[in-house]
Amino acid sequence: MKSGYVANRSTRFSVLSDDQCREIVSASKEILERTGVKIFYQEAVEILRKAGCSVDGEQVRIPSRLVDQALRMVPKRVTLCNSRTGERVMHLEGYNAYFGTGSDTPFYIDPYTGERRPSSTQSVGNNCRVIDALPNLDFVMSLGISQDVPQPVYDRYQYEAMVLNTSKPIVVTANDAQGFADIIEMAEIVAGGPEKLRRNPLIVLYAEPISPLQHSMESITKLMMAANKEVPVVYTPCVMAGATVPATMAGTLACGLAESLSGLVLHQLTKEGAPFIMGGVFTIMDMQSTIFSYGAPEFHLLEAALADIAHYLNLPMFGTCGCSDSKVVDEQAGIEAAMSILLMAQAGPNLNHDVGYIEYGSTASLEMLVICDEIIGMARRIVRGIEVNPETLAVDVIDQVGPGGHFLKTAHTRKFFKTETWYPTLIDRKIYANWKSDGSKTLTQRANEKVISILESYQPEQLSPDVKQKLRAVVERAASKCQK
C-alpha cells in the first residue's frame, strides 16, 4: 500500500494562482458594472435592458449577477466531430489541448516558387488538404481568404473549399450573420440534417468584439445567430496591450475578459445553454513598428494566464500558438513557434489556433505549418511527463543486464523505446555523413519537400457527389443573390 501517493500525469505551466484569477475576474465584473460596454445593435441592447442592465444610449452597464448567471448556464464542455464519420474527436474542456491553424491571411507563400502571393479559394483548399494530412493538427481554420470570388459571399466559397478538403472539425469565419446562416446550412448538409449537426457539431463559428469594450452590429448578430442555432461559437477579443487595453498585463487581462464576459451574457440571454468558447488573442502592440505581435513573450504569457482564468471559470478556451512575426520561415519563426506551442501545450487552453502564421498573421506558410506539426509532437511528449511504476523503474531488467551489459536487446527496451521516446519525421538527427549525402538540407528545405509531397500525393476522404452538389447549390444561390 502507498499512502497519500501523488503522481504528476503531465507537466504543467501555470501563471496565476486561484486568488489572482478571482481578482482579475472581479476587476472585469467591476469594469462591466462601472464602465460597461457599447453595443451597436438595438435588439441586443433591449435584451440586456430587460435582463436588468443599465442602458445609456449604446452604452450598457452589466450587473455582476448577470455574469454569474451566464457562467452557471453555459456548458462547461464543447465536443467537435469528424465531418465524414461523425466521430466525437475533440472534447474542449479542462486541460485538453488541441491544435489547429489560423484563418484569414491575405497572403500565402507559394510552396513551389517561394513567392508571397494573395490567397485564393485554391490556396485555401490546398492548405486544408495539407492540414488534413498532418497528424498533430486537430482542427482547421482556412489559412487564407477566397479573394478570387465575389467578396460579399467569399465565406461560402471558403467553407466549401475547406470542407471538401478536410474531415477535421472546422472553425469558420464569415462576412456577416447571413454568411453564417448559409454556412450552417452547408454544415447541416454535410452532417445529414440540422438535428445531426446539433448533436455532433462539425463547425465552430468565429466572431470578435472590437476593443476596447465594444460589440459591433456585425459581431453581435453573428454571436446571436450562433446562439439561436446552438452552433458552438468562439467569441474572441483581439487586444493590444498599450493600445486598445492598458499596457499592464493584469489590466490587459481584466479589460479583454470584460469583453468576453459581456459577450457571454448576451449569448446566454439569447439562448440559455448554447455552446460558447471563450476567446482571447491577447498580445502587445509593438511601440516601434506598431504591429500586433504574434511572437512576443508577453503574448504567450497572457495566453497562458488567460488559460488559468478559463480553468478557474470552467469555460472552454480558444488559445493561440505556432505563429510568428518573421516574414519568412527562419530561425525566428522556429523560436517563436516552439516557445508558444510548448507553453500552450502545458497551460492547456483547448482550441489552440494560428498554427502556420508568419508575418504577424498576414501570411500563411505551409512550411511553417509542417514544422509546427513536428513541434506539437515534441510538446505533446513533454506534456505526457514521466510514468513512474515498477515496470518503468525496470529494476529487474537492470539486474538482469548487470554492470557492463547493454539494454539494446532486452524485451523491455523493445516494449518501451517507441512509446517512451518521440521520433521525428522532419527534425534531423542523422549522422553527419548521411546528412551530407542526403543533400545537406536545412529544416526549411526539408519542410518544403514534405509540403510538396503531401500536395502531390495526399487525398482527403471525399464527400458524396450528392452532398457536393448540394453544397455547390448553396454557394451559387448566395452568389446569384449577390450579383442582383
Binding site: 557492463g404 547493454h406 539494446l408 536487446k409 523493445r414 523505446f417 549522422i431 553527419y432 555523413a433 548521411n434
Partner: protein
C-alpha cells in the same frame, strides 16, 4: 516452399531468438534441407530487417534482436550445412571483432557486430579489453578475413596501432584485413597506423567490410 521457412523468416523479423532456435531444431529433426532453411528463412528475414533499417522503418533494438535470432538459428544449423558440403550457407565473410586492451566500451562494437551479422557476415566477438595476441589467436582459429578493433578513448587508441604492429612482427599482416573504429578515431589515424579501413558509423563499417571481402576474392 516449406511452411517452416516462412515461420523462420518471421521469427528473425520479430527478433525471437527462442523461436528461431526451436525452428532450426525442427529443421534438423524433420530432415528438412538446412541450406534451404538458411537461404529461404534466416537470410530472407534478416534481409528484410536490413532493408527496413536502411529506410528508417526498423529501429536499432529490432536489428539487434533480429541478429540474435539469426545467430541462435545458424549456430544450430551450421554443422548440418557444413556436412551437406554446400557453399550456399557460407557467410559473406568472417570477422573477429573486439575492443582493444585497456578499454571496456562496447556498445558501438556490439552494434557493429549486429549489423554485420544482419548483413550475412559471421562475427566472432571476442568482447572487451583484448590484447593484440587475443585478436590474432581468434583470427587464426576461425580463419578470419577481417580483424576489427574498437577503441573509445584517446588513451587506448594506441592499442589499435599495437595490433597492426604485432601482425607485422608475426609476418601475418597480409593474412588479414584490419579495420578500426570508435569515437576518437579518424580516417587519418587509420591511415597513419597502416589499417586497411576506418568507418565512422556501423552502417559504413558494413559497407567497408563488404568492399574488403570483395577485394580479397579478387
Amino acid at each position: 516452399m516449406n511452411q517452416v521457412f516462412e515461420e523462420i523468416k518471421q521469427a528473425v523479423i520479430d527478433g525471437d531468438d527462442e523461436l528461431a532456435a526451436e525452428l532450426a531444431q525442427k529443421v534438423l529433426d524433420e530432415g528438412i534441407n538446412p541450406v534451404e532453411a538458411v537461404q529461404e528463412g534466416f537470410i530472407k528475414g534478416i534481409d528484410e530487417i536490413g532493408t527496413k533499417w536502411k529506410s528508417g522503418e526498423a529501429f536499432l533494438p529490432d536489428v539487434m534482436m533480429a541478429a540474435d535470432a539469426l545467430k541462435a538459428g545458424l549456430t544450430l544449423l551450421e554443422p548440418a550445412v557444413a556436412e551437406s558440403g554446400s557453399q550456399e550457407g557460407e557467410p559473406v565473410g568472417r570477422i573477429v571483432l573486439g575492443t582493444v586492451a585497456g578499454d571496456i566500451h562496447d556498445i558501438g562494437k556490439n552494434i557493429v557486430g549486429a549489423l554485420l551479422t544482419a548483413a550475412g557476415f559471421k562475427v566472432y566477438d571476442i568482447d572487451i579489453d583484448q590484447s593484440a595476441q587475443s585478436f590474432l589467436a581468434k583470427a587464426e582459429e576461425v580463419g578470419a578475413d577481417i580483424i576489427a578493433a574498437s577503441a573509445l578513448l584517446t588513451t587506448t587508441m594506441g592499442e589499435q596501432k599495437e595490433l597492426v604492429k604485432y601482425l607485422v612482427e608475426k609476418n601475418l599482416r597480409d593474412q588479414y584485413r584490419v579495420i578500426i573504429g570508435g569515437g576518437p578515431t579518424t580516417k587519418e589515424w587509420g591511415d597513419e597506423i597502416g589499417a586497411d579501413g576506418w568507418a565512422e558509423t556501423a552502417d559504413q563499417a558494413v559497407e567497408l567490410c563488404k568492399e574488403l571481402v570483395l577485394d580479397i576474392k579478387r
